[in-house]
């Protein structure tokens, strides 16, 4: 290999990186920059009377309600992580490293809480375990007491935590599945119990994915909207997202500048988190587990008592986080009244579904959501892979820039990103024809899902040991060729996993469309938010039920076609 040829190939890879990173900076910084600019104005940026001012900062920072909301948000986010990460990691271990009975069908079921937007989830819990929920009423009749309240911070944390278990599970199991089993087998052979193996052998090997999962769920906790809105807000429990939501009403005019300040505050809180995360993972080589010597994983044997214990735990979790909310939604979708003194049997109806199919916008919403999730999701994964490769083994400043670009949008609530893209598609001349099309939603969704999708892809990329790529490069292949012929084939199962994850993320998304959605671009999640403002609970329940049904069907179809969530 001549020196000149090597240089040309290196610059080929370099040129690719520069192009991808530049495009990413443009797509991410346009909305973020707009928000930053807006925060320093005293009126909406398109208002002719808008002047540079710190008025909005002054308002927010001296508002005691802001500080209360900030404290509540922090408690909620930390609590959510404390519930979701241990449970998610445990679930991942049981389903990916052991011979647990029935794990093949258990996996799609375990993902169900992710299919639901948190508004619907909160709604489902209300019908099941709220003050007049059917489980609560049964408890009261049977035991004379109802020992819980879901309209409290504790209740919100538990529900938020349980609903984020699948997020942790997907990250961690994605990493666990590519681990060879020789280390675990060695530990088992030397007499360690299965639980000990999981804690001392498996867990340390997937530490990066655990850290990512924890950090990202912390960010998700900061931007959760539906659960606090439905469960906390009526009783005056306010978090930052509901604070943003209410600020508009308090002023009675579009208070985009105040909303922007809160968004900037969220970025300032979450950036150090991103920095910390990068610090922890600086030495990524330590975590490479798939070496040049390939090894297929063989599952650990749980034994009869292990099976029983594992199944009891999983069954309990499934009842609480799948059966209760879905049961609640199902009941609600087929009745027109429920609660104390109401015999559900007398109120059975199919009218809510008939209404959904008769109403053009609701019906279009279902079709659009499917298009966006399945086709949009596939395109999004291709984009994430392109970005992932640009950052792969990139330890220079451009790699750092890329990492921040990826995490920046995650620091912002979907509702704010959607609003910023609404402005972009409204005011950038050559983009305006795209606003009434699904493309506008696709772009915003892709940015919202960026860190989710990329972390999955990066976690998979990290598992490919550098010597594989190095051997490809030393035999004369260009970086592009190395990626095409070596890296991508190895991570292909991870890509299918990423696609299914993104599909789920796009299906359940509701906040991003609040400002972007218009006639012809309705999506189910956002329709539920707008129906909530008009109080059409019947249609919300029917839509929620249908979206669960369609997702379940789609997933079943994908599994049948052989596109398994993991290899």
């Amino acid at each position: 290999m001549s020196a000149a040829g090597g240089l040309a190939r290196r610059s080929e890879g370099q040129g690719y990186r520069v192009a991808v990173i530049a495009a990413l900076v443009l797509v991410v910084m346009t909305p973020v920059g707009l928000i930053l600019y807006q925060s320093f104005l005293d009126a909406p940026f398109f208002d002719k009377t808008a002047r540079m001012s710190l008025e909005a900062y002054d308002y927010v920072l001296t508002d005691p309600d802001f500080w209360t909301a900030l404290g509540t948000t922090a408690l909620f986010a930390v609590g959510l992580v404390a519930v979701a990460v241990p449970l998610g990691a445990m679930l991942a271990f049981l389903l990916s490293r052991t011979d647990l009975v029935g794990k093949r069908w258990l996996e799609p079921v375990a993902l169900v809480p992710m299919f639901l937007s948190s508004i619907v989830l909160a709604f489902g819990y209300t019908v099941a375990v709220g003050p007049s929920g059917f489980v609560s009423l049964w408890m009261k009749e049977t035991f004379g007491i109802k020992p819980w309240s879901i309209y409290s911070l504790g209740g919100m944390i538990l529900i938020g935590g349980l609903s984020h278990v699948p997020n942790v599970y997907l990250y961690v199991s994605s990493a666990m599945r590519s681990l060879p089993s020789d280390l675990e087998e060695a530990a088992r052979a030397s007499g360690a119990s299965i639980w000990r193996v999981s804690l001392d052998v498996t867990l340390p090997m997937v530490l990066p994915s655990l850290i990512f999962a924890a950090a990202l769920n912390l960010l998700l906790g900061f931007e959760t909207f539906g659960i606090p809105l439905v469960l906390g807000d009526p009783s005056g429990i306010v978090v930052l997202t509901t604070y943003i939501y209410k600020v508009n009403g308090i002023f009675g005019t579009p208070t985009y500048h105040v909303m922007a300040v809160v968004a900037v505050a969220l970025i300032l809180i979450t950036l150090p988190l991103v920095y910390f995360q990068r610090l922890l993972l600086r030495n990524s080589r330590r975590y490479a587990a798939v070496g040049g010597k390939g090894a297929r994983a063989t599952p650990l044997r749980l034994g009869p008592s292990g099976q029983v214990i594992a199944w009891s735990l999983i069954a309990l979790w499934l009842v609480v986080s799948v059966a209760l909310p879905i049961g609640g939604i199902t009941v609600r979708a087929f009745v027109d009244a429920w609660g104390e003194g109401v015999r559900l049997r007398d109120h059975l109806t199919l009218a809510h579904f008939a209404h959904v199919f008769d109403t053009p916008s609701l019906f279009r919403g279902i079709i659009n959501t499917l298009l966006l999730a399945v086709i949009g999701g596939a395109f999004a994964v291709a984009i994430y892979l392109a970005v992932g490769l640009a950052g792969h083994r990139n330890k220079g400043p451009s790699g750092a820039l890329l990492d921040y670009m990826v995490l920046l949008p995650r620091a912002l609530p979907g509702i704010i990103i959607g609003l910023a893209f609404f402005w972009v598609f409204l005011f950038v001349p050559f983009l305006t024809p795209l606003r009434p099309t699904l493309v506008s939603l696709f772009v915003a969704y892709t940015v919202v899902g960026l860190s989710y999708g990329l972390r999955i892809i990066q976690a998979t990329l990290l598992q490919v040991a550098p010597e594989l790529e190095e051997s490809s490069r030393t035999t004369g292949a260009s970086p592009m060729r190395t990626w095409r012929d070596t890296v991508i084939p190895i991570i292909r199962p991870g890509l299918v996993g990423a696609w299914s994850l993104i599909m789920i993320v796009f299906l359940r998304e509701y906040a991003t469309g609040v400002y972007l959605m218009g006639v012809g671009t309705e999506v189910v999640g956002t329709l539920m938010v707008s129906l909530l403002t008009s109080g059409s609970m019947d249609q919300i329940a029917a839509l929620a039920f249908l979206s669960i049904l369609f997702t379940a069907l789609g997933l079943g179809f994908a599994l049948r076609l052989g596109a398994r969530i993991h290899d």
Binding site: G130, S235, G252, G339
Partner: protein, 368 residues
């Protein structure tokens, strides 16, 4: 102002008159409309569609849309949004010079007045205007399309019959005396989240002396606040909440028919009522179709269709479901209808709002 407008209209009228002599005359022009209306219909049909931004539930609005389509063969994009979203969207799109709505139809009367003030709404001399009271039309820009009294709803199984409030005074007394028994079981509109919630609270504050007593007793009883009437219905039907006040009465009557658990009561000493207002936007993409739709909404037929879905009509001389007589009987004749006028824009005064919310929040924390 008036003279100039009538001049413009006169000019348009004569132009249309000469124009229409060669076309087939006045096909589809509703009775009592000027002959040149055929021209508007023709232009609207050429535009082919009309876009509505509205806070009205599709269940209430859809029959109107269907009837309009049938009458004129013009497609309708029905955009169901919250009150604040209708407002924000019209403002942002107006600023970008990309107006998307032809008609804005919302229950937030005060927000619509601000849009009028900002010059985002167009004037239109509707041939239906004569059938409506003066307090329903503002400068030919904002048109009241309904009159909707607020109600109290309660769970019949959980509220003792003798506790059911018949007047506003009863409600205040109930919360003051039995607040402990009703702790966490009373609901109302959230003025912070909902535009219509704020409008109703302001109206009560201006028209009754007991508003803050009510708010304090409500806060002390750990009252819960919601962003929509439908959410309150859900809570009362399920028994999570027992009483809700300032619920949109037309919806409440519908729910009473649907559910044996729901009881409805209108206060006979004071009941406020708002008007759902509609306007055509300035620089609308389909200006003729927008005007046609507005006229259709205000027409006898349109008002009857809305009444059929529980939205009481405003049109003078209307007889049928939820007509003036029936509404008067329900509310004991003491209904206070919020007029469509400039004073509403005063609700947007930042000082007024921040002072209101300071006292309101204190009351909600039970510190009143």
């Amino acid at each position: 102002m008036t003279t100039r407008r009538s001049f413009v209209v006169g000019a348009l009228g004569s132009a249309a008159f000469f124009g229409s002599s060669q076309s087939s005359f006045a096909q589809g022009v509703p009775a009592g409309y000027p002959a040149d209306y055929a021209d508007l219909i023709a232009r609207a049909k050429k535009e082919g569609r009309v876009a509505i931004y509205t806070s009205t539930d599709e269940a209430q609005g859809q029959p109107l849309v269907e009837a309009f389509k049938q009458a004129y063969g013009i497609a309708v994009d029905y955009n169901g949004l919250g009150t604040t979203d209708v407002y924000n969207r019209v403002i942002s799109e107006g600023a970008a010079g990309q107006v998307g709505a032809d008609v804005a139809w919302t229950s937030s009367m005060d927000l619509q007045m601000v849009l009028a003030g900002k010059g985002l709404l167009d004037t239109y001399l509707s041939p239906e205007a004569a059938h409506f009271p003066q307090t329903s039309i503002y400068k030919d820009m904002v048109f009241g399309t309904s009159v909707e009294p607020v109600a109290m709803i309660y769970n019949k199984n959980l509220l003792k019959a003798e506790w059911v409030p018949k007047t506003r005074a009863d409600l205040v007394k109930l919360l003051q005396e039995y607040g402990k028994d009703l702790k966490g079981k009373v609901a109302s509109f959230d003025p912070e989240k909902s535009g219509i919630g704020f409008l109703l609270a302001q109206t009560d504050l201006q028209n009754t002396s007991s508003f803050w007593d009510l708010a304090k007793a409500f806060g002390a009883a750990d009252g819960k606040v919601y962003g929509s009437s439908g959410a309150m219905r859900e809570k009362v039907v399920s028994g999570e909440q027992i009483v809700a006040f300032n619920v949109i009465g037309s919806y409440a009557l519908q729910w009473q028919k649907e559910s044996p658990v729901v009881g409805v009561s209108f206060a006979s000493d004071y009941t406020s009522a708002f008007q759902r207002v509609a306007s055509v936007t300035k620089n609308a993409p389909h200006p003729a179709a927008g005007r046609l739709f507005l006229d259709f909404m205000l027409s006898e037929k349109g008002q009857a269709i809305l009444a059929d879905k529980g939205v009481p009509p405003l049109r003078k001389g209307y007889k049928g479901a939820l007509d003036a007589e029936e509404i008067g009987k329900l509310t004991g004749g003491n209904m206070k209808v919020i007029p469509v006028d400039e004073k509403l824009a005063g609700n947007m005064n930042p000082k007024l709002r921040s002072e209101f919310f300071q006292i309101w929040r204190k009351a909600m924390r039970g510190e009143g």
